[in-house]
């Protein structure tokens, strides 16, 4: 294992340290073991799992689409997963049912492809086209969700928290399923990292380097949609984690996906554990949805990124 890869492994103790810190952070000052292990621990695990899924998905999209402005929230992947979850709610599919995950995944996958194909209307789409297409798809899906919530008021309360994004007393089997899906997706992505490196040169150049763009795109859209769907199933839409984390980690570990995928998963876990600790402690005893915290960081970051890459060339 080379020096660079060993540097990535430092993220593991960092994640554990953050989790330790988060265990003793919260509204209850002198919390007993019941609160610490019964409530906070599963919640920290959920934050780690969701953060890992979103960080990984962001790194996949940014590489695959050669677009630094990509992330599951901006591309509409999260909104697609949300729409799937709301659909389940409408048809009475329980969150413990295997169909729940399938439908949420289908929503994420379909929305991602829709955004992608809308951005390809022009022969040489710019980076902004993809973002605009993502906004269009997200807005449309969110409107459908709102419409549903207005029509079926009895579901609205549980869904509004879901829409804001955050961790709730979810049952542990949900946590286990989402965790397993995210670990499998990250493992699949890490195994195929070479393809994301060549796609970072653009789809056309990747084809000249021997990759079949349609096949590779399909595989990585599926992996990122699985990870995003599993994250959304657990915590609703938590925005901008997938945008911020890979950018910060590129500064430390370089752009190669050999290190970026695994470090984005670990870094996403770290970031969301800390963000959730802040969400619980900042306005205690009231709790801020964690999606609000990440958006407070993420939106200014996105604007900064947009300005920095505005001079950039077309996406190809």
């Amino acid at each position: 294992m080379n020096k660079e890869m060993r540097k990535v492994l430092w993220l593991v103790p960092a994640v554990i340290a953050a989790a330790g810190l988060a265990l003793f952070t919260g509204a209850v000052r002198a919390a007993g073991p019941e609160i610490i292990w019964g409530l906070r621990f599963p919640r920290i695990l959920a934050a780690a799992v969701v953060g890992a899924g979103l960080g990984f998905s962001g790194a996949v999209f940014q590489g695959l689409l050669k677009n630094p402005l990509s992330d599951p929230y901006i591309l509409g992947t999260s909104a697609g997963a949300m729409a799937g979850a709301v659909l389940c709610s409408a048809f009475g599919v329980a969150r413990s049912s295997p169909f729940f995950y399938l439908i949420v995944f289908a929503g994420a996958f379909f929305a991602t492809f829709l955004t992608y194909s809308l951005s390809k209307v022009k022969k040489r789409p710019s980076m902004a086209h993809l973002v605009l297409a993502g906004v269009a798809v997200s807005t449309f899906l969110t409107a459908l969700i709102m419409l549903f919530m207005t029509l079926y008021r009895e579901h609205s309360l549980s869904l509004i928290y879901f829409l804001l994004g955050g961790f709730f007393p979810a049952d542990n089997s949900l946590l286990a399923v989402s965790g397993a899906i995210i670990i499998a997706s990250v493992a699949g992505g890490v195994f195929l990292w070479r393809y994301l490196d060549i796609f970072s040169l653009g789809e056309e150049k990747a084809a000249y380097l021997g990759a079949d763009p349609d096949k590779v795109r399909l595989v990585f859209f599926a992996l990122a949609s699985f990870a995003t769907a599993a994250a959304v199933a657990l915590a609703g839409t938590v925005g901008f984690v997938g945008l911020i984390v890979p950018h910060v980690l590129r500064i430390f570990f370089g752009p190669s996906h050999r290190r970026l995928l695994i470090s984005s998963a670990l870094g996403g876990a770290l970031f969301l554990i800390l963000a959730d600790a802040v969400a619980r402690a900042a306005a205690a005893p009231a709790e801020i949805p964690v999606g609000v915290i990440t958006a407070l960081f993420g939106a200014p970051f996105f604007i900064w990124l947009l300005r920095r890459t505005a001079g950039g060339d077309s996406a190809e």
């Binding site: 590489g63 050669k66 677009n67 630094p68 022969k123 195994f191 195929l192 070479r194 393809y195 490196d197 060549i198 970072s200 040169l201 653009g202 056309e204 150049k205 084809a207 000249y208 380097l209 021997g210 990759a211 079949d212 590129r250 370089g254 752009p255 190669s256 890459t309 950039g312 060339d313 077309s314």
Partner: protein, 252 residues
């Protein structure tokens, strides 16, 4: 040995013809210059030969087999393509960029090996910039960057090398360096096709020439014969062939 044979090749974007009939042959050790005005389909021709686009009419054969019968990976082991401009949002190291050239030689389930790393080393030596290995790609001058992208193409170990305006943004030092390199590669057995507007360089280094015009092909044959004042003037719509001839004389 014949590497590429193109006959009556046509291609149109949404009904508008981009390549209006092209025919040529590329043998081992050929350095073929492709010239023509903007919109005559030079870049499209390269994308047809590299298999990225499918011709609407005519045929393009690589080693006697239709280019579209090859898989992307098979093709990438035979043909390497250096695009005219490549915007890179992420700051890869030179080593990582050249290593990506090994991609078609590594099966999907495997990682790059030590042999791939040493091929990167050799490719950087071949283009004469081994000292850039650990620099980041976006910190290079445009000349160095072009050499690195050629090294990436060489790491593919191709039989055919395609270059789209490799010297258009470079100073005369790098222009000469790159054309000398291409000459060396061709005499080593590779077939090289260069699209360029650099008339003087093409006349000095190319063995064969293909001149395209808006409505089709104007000339294919030995460069000495083809790159004449009359042909160039006709292809580009220049009124006075003598001014072209004067340009060539001064340059030489």
């Amino acid at each position: 040995m014949m590497l590429i044979k193109v006959e009556g090749l046509k291609f149109s974007y949404n009904g508008a013809p981009a390549v209006a009939g092209a025919g040529f042959e590329l043998m081992e050790k050929d350095l073929l210059a492709v010239m023509g005005p903007n919109g005559s389909g030079k870049s499209t021709l390269l994308r047809l030969i590299s298999g990225f686009l499918e011709p609407s009419e005519g045929s393009a054969k690589l080693l006697d087999r239709d280019i579209h019968a090859y898989s992307k990976a098979e093709l990438a082991r035979l043909v390497a393509y250096v695009p005219s401009e490549l915007y890179l949002p992420y700051d890869f190291s030179v080593f990582e960029i050249v290593l990506m050239g090994r991609s078609p030689r590594v099966p999907w389930w495997r990682d790059y090996s030590g042999a791939d790393a040493s091929r990167v080393h050799d490719a950087l030596n071949e283009v004469g910039v081994p000292e850039l290995r650990d620099r980041s790609i976006n910190s290079l001058s445009s000349g160095e960057r072009q050499l690195v992208l050629i090294a990436q193409a060489l790491a593919q170990d191709p039989k055919v090398l395609l270059l789209d305006e490799p010297t258009s943004h470079l100073d005369i030092n790098y222009k000469i360096q790159i054309f000398e390199l291409l000459t060396r590669l061709a005499s080593g057995g590779m077939g090289v096709i260069v699209v360029s507007h650099d008339l003087a360089l093409m006349a000095a280094y190319a063995g064969k020439a293909l001149i395209l015009k808006k409505a089709g092909q104007l000339f294919y044959g030995p460069a000495k014969e083809g790159l004449s004042g009359v042909n160039i003037a006709a292809a580009y719509g220049i009124n006075n062939p003598e001014s072209v001839a004067r340009l060539l004389n001064i340059a030489v």
